[in-house]
Subunit: 174 residues, 2 copies
């Protein structure tokens, strides 16, 4: 599971896709890493959404939206990060893990987050048209599901939403 | 897109994972193919759920549950079939396609079905504990989503549910 390098030698600028960070990182730091993932999507001309999965204060999964690039409607940032974490853990149960996403997850990603039994979701900007909570989809807060998840919304909301606004604005401008 | 063999030479027992069938197949035939996928899951000791994606009367995607085998919580039958179809079509929009699943889709799969813009969902047995409709998850019937999907439930329900019952019964018996 733990493929972490020597944390002492890992600086803030460390830029490996498999990077694990020391447990002194906090929510804002993890969301900034999710934003870095979103920028990777932007560089591929994809809707800029990014996510990281964190276990015991370390990043164990990273993902960014790659739907167009991979021709795969399931290649949303959250699902890419979950798959990456599963690979690194060699298991699909992410019971003790948290996910940080720059955007409110869509119903598909919300379902994946519940299926993977993540204990906490932190997201940046709400998505009124596509977000699971915004659409009242009754997934992350379904009282009939055994699994309960803690949710924190609006972290680095401005940074996350500006990435999206600029992307869609540039698309409209051709 | 069309990797179909010569349909004249394709019998009912044709057993290739890439099999395409002539348009004289009907809903029951497609669900029987989904059941064959479910049996593949059973043979891997996975919860037996199978799915096929159909376009213009031809199967263009197949999938069976492989969560344990692949250590991937997103490897549900419906998502595997959608990804297979996307690969065969070289595109993620399955606008003119139908999906046949032996089980009522969970919220994650229901979200993927909506994201892929499938036009029709046919499923076998309901899943009171995990199914998106059974859990009132407001995805497949969300009035705020632009995409509308036609749903047919209960096709070959008995065959689909017996596969599941036998699987869980044999697990309980050790």
């Amino acid at each position: 599971m733990d493929r972490a390098p020597d944390y002492e030698s890992v600086g803030w600028g460390f830029d490996s896709p498999q990077a694990h960070f020391s447990s002194f990182m906090n929510d804002v730091d993890f969301m900034q890493e999710a934003l870095r993932e979103a920028e990777k999507a932007l560089n591929k001309n994809e809707v800029p959404v990014g996510a990281v999965v964190v276990c015991n204060g370390k990043i164990i999964g990273r993902g960014h939206n790659q739907v167009e690039h991979m021709n795969d409607v399931t290649a949303h940032a959250e699902i890419m990060a979950i798959r990456d974490a599963e690979k690194n853990l060699s298991g699909w149960r992410l019971t003790d893990c948290e996910i940080f996403s720059t955007c409110e997850p869509c119903p598909m990603c919300a379902g994946a987050i519940m299926n993977a039994r993540l204990k906490r979701l932190v997201y940046g900007t709400a998505q009124p048209k596509f977000g699971s909570l915004s659409l009242s989809c009754n997934i992350l807060d379904n009282t009939r599901l055994n699994h309960k998840i803690e949710i924190k919304a609006g972290l680095l909301e401005k940074e996350s939403s500006e990435l999206l606004k600029n992307f869609f604005s540039s698309r409209r401008d051709g």
